[in-house]
Symmetry: C3
Subunit: 349 residues, 3 copies
């Protein structure tokens, strides 16, 4: 029996199977500092213990996407080591705040599978969950990936495709955000005068700034998340592959877009849910990421008058400023688009 992990193939995934992923991880202020250095985030709640405490947190929570990346990274050796493509995310909810000192671990439950007609690959659906050291689920999401079969001759399993919501309902949001005191939320320190009620559905915001990505940066980030996907790290092999170079982890793009979105969404301090995400095309080092956002919906959260929810669609591009809001184009996308992300953020009322 080989001592090395060769990952799971399509026929290894059994419906209902729960995979416990390796390497629990204690998140620290060291990780938080690196996350700041990698993306330059300026959301006050995550940046300042004093600010967070003033509104009702015990201290600054760990950035939602850092939690997502750490939970996600653990799933890679078991779920997507033999993946051809990471097809999408849905039904992602943040359930409990994470603070420095918490230890995260993850599991994935196989909730669907469907062999492709070529008989070489199939799509696997998993619901992954992140837990803290108390066993509380802090995050859950569904992901589906196209995975190679080990043996093309192995029989196709019964097709099971999970029903996934197009978007979380507003009353499913807010679990990872304690009740805050919105009067203590200092707009000057937060960097924007706009509260929840100031945003209107249909509004489009160009985030203006651009950020160029270096190989060292995305590699540092992806290792920080203990994400082992080979395509991000190995120029020797990738240099002989389809693109001739290393691919940047899609989550790195999400974090860059989120950080750029501060300029226009400074008070959207918490990502409560990700309704869906698509990595439209790959990003490579040396390119510059831009982003813009459309407000899709504005919703109250039942029982809460401290914060409201905005459903946002953030588009990120490469080497294309976003004043013209590039997005869909005919049947596809503007060729500059790399990310199409639909999520709920919370904003003080």
């Amino acid at each position: 029996m080989s001592k090395t992990n060769s990952g799971n193939f399509f026929e290894d995934f059994q419906l209902g199977q729960v995979i416990v992923h390796a390497t629990p991880r204690t998140v620290t202020v060291g990780d938080v500092a690196l996350y700041t250095a990698l993306y330059g985030g300026r959301f006050a709640v995550q940046s300042s213990d004093a600010f967070a405490q003033a509104i009702g947190y015990p201290r600054s929570p760990v950035d939602d996407l850092l939690v997502f990346h750490i939970v996600f990274g653990k799933t890679v050796p078991d779920i997507s080591l033999n993946a051809v493509a990471n097809l999408g995310y849905a039904d992602c909810r943040f359930l409990v705040p994470v603070y420095p000192g918490d230890t995260l671990s993850s599991t994935s439950e196989v909730i669907g599978h469907k062999e492709n007609s070529n008989g070489q690959t199939g799509v696997v659906y998993v619901r992954s969950r992140g837990f803290n050291q108390h066993g509380d689920a802090v995050l859950e999401y569904v992901r589906w990936v196209m995975v190679r079969k080990r043996d093309p001759k192995s029989p196709a399993p019964a097709e099971v495709t999970p029903q996934l919501p197009r978007a979380l309902a507003p009353d499913q949001l807010g679990d990872a955000c304690p009740v805050i005191d919105p009067r203590k939320y200092d707009l000057a320190l937060a960097g924007s005068p706009f509260r929840w009620g100031d945003y209107l559905p249909g509004e489009k915001i160009d985030h203006v700034d651009g950020m160029t990505v270096e190989e060292a940066e995305h590699q540092l980030a992806t290792r920080l998340y203990q994400n082992t996907a080979k395509v991000h790290f190995n120029q020797f092999t990738e240099g002989q592959g389809r693109f001739g170079r290393r691919l940047i982890y899609g989550g790195h793009v999400i974090s860059l877009a989120r950080s750029l979105s501060f300029n226009g969404l400074a008070n959207a301090f918490h990502i409560a849910a990700i309704n869906g995400g698509r990595h439209v095309s790959p990003l490579f080092a040396g390119l510059t990421v831009f982003a813009w956002t459309e407000v899709l919906e504005r919703a109250e959260i039942q029982g809460r008058d401290d914060v409201g929810a905005l459903r946002l669609r953030t588009i990120a591009t490469k080497d294309q400023p976003c004043a013209a809001h590039p997005a869909k184009q005919g049947d596809g996308y503007d060729p500059s688009v790399i990310l199409d992300l639909d999520y709920w953020a919370l904003v003080p009322r």
Copy 2:
């Protein structure tokens, strides 16, 4: 009203106006570790809690320049987003030590303005202050920048140019340094046998070593400081600009020069004040930074026999070793010079 910040233009600055800058920041041991990785600092007081405690600090203070960069970074979106040039610093004093766990915020007071004769730009003078979570000012400095006018036809304001000292007086120094026990200051552990009395005005010290800067490094640093100046991050735009490439944040050069200066100034453990600083020419990735220092003055600090002050002038160069002490040349500078920094450092007696 736009949701995005387009920064202030010359005519937006009102004399006496105090601007509260966004995004307070809790400084942690994570930031300290990154700062070490970025510059390789070896000053024992900042590196070792045990060393700092032995001489009288409660623990290692956060490096003075890390404090400066964090306080400075916050001012960028309000003061210098539309700046043509960062013209100078003066009258900078470190007032209270900063420790991991402290939260920093900043304000800037407009203390002068002067429209340029071209009617397109003007010079704005601000006194910026950094505060900790108790409201104590930990740092203050004056900066002046050349800023674009929004509307060239707007009337010129009355010219007000603040009087700035050429250098801080010795009795204004030392507030951010507790009284230390110089007998407990271990010269072997600190890396140099030279105390305050061993330095002589006029002495010139070549710091010998050189450090090459990579794009990923200065971007990580500048984001760590939450400094959003566009020229440091956006190759897409800068590639079409004057230099064809990203400019490196001037503060990155100051920190590199300070770190290199350890070789010759190992016991100059605390920067008490910056009398003036000038970024003589820009630095780009791929170039190697060298530095040398002249001792300008040696001064006692009234009422203290634990530490004395050295007024130092550190010159940094690019791709030019400093054995020959390159500096002024005719009316200008040797073309290799990138930084001319005049500051006071404290050294055990």
Copy 3:
């Protein structure tokens, strides 16, 4: 007397001399996070406080190699600033676990010297020791380096060559590993089902994955260790030198190889000793590191039934996958080999 350190030359080293190295260093969770970002380590004991506590540690210990690099870095300004070559390590033992918050310092004792027949250089042997803030030795190792003479005419000292063990004996291992409860060591969370008894002498494990190194990464790492060796940082000078570029710190290669070895050795959670190490050829940025390991011995540790020791030989290569186990070739090595490391690791029984 020059204020700058020009390092020691061959004739400066006196047999029996003990050198106290500069700059003690408090290791923090910030350093741990950076170490994760640099190498992507996934050993559960070092990654998760909860995992470490479950088996008997008070919290996650600092990675053994991070301790090694910090202790080693301090020795550079005194031992190897004028080194022509770093010839080898031996007799390295980890003696006490290091936790975040501990402060490390180091000393080196000169235990041998031998002038080379060319009269220009000599070999110096030192035993370096790392200490924590309580004065406990946490690590010791022997290193020998070839150092230039200041004056080729100075007389050769009496030749003294220390006797060094080819390998540590099993009963010398384990001091830095508390007694653990191997039943609480969760194999699923740790990432491998293989315990000590599952490894057999002679077994060869290809670690499969490759990691490409960027200039920014090895510079960040080497500065984090406060290692000042000029060849790693100064492209201006190295560009005119033998290789035309910066050399990567050999310890960076060791850490990369160790991190890659997780895939196959996930439960070899602690390096107890390094029997010997050789940097067979230099590594440069842009190249991809691969690794494979041979199990040399399997040994019980006297008085302990919780963990056993594996003596491992890990070979790292550049731009050469390791399925064919490249190593010695005729009198030398396969040209792809950059590291040949012989060490003892502990594995739960």
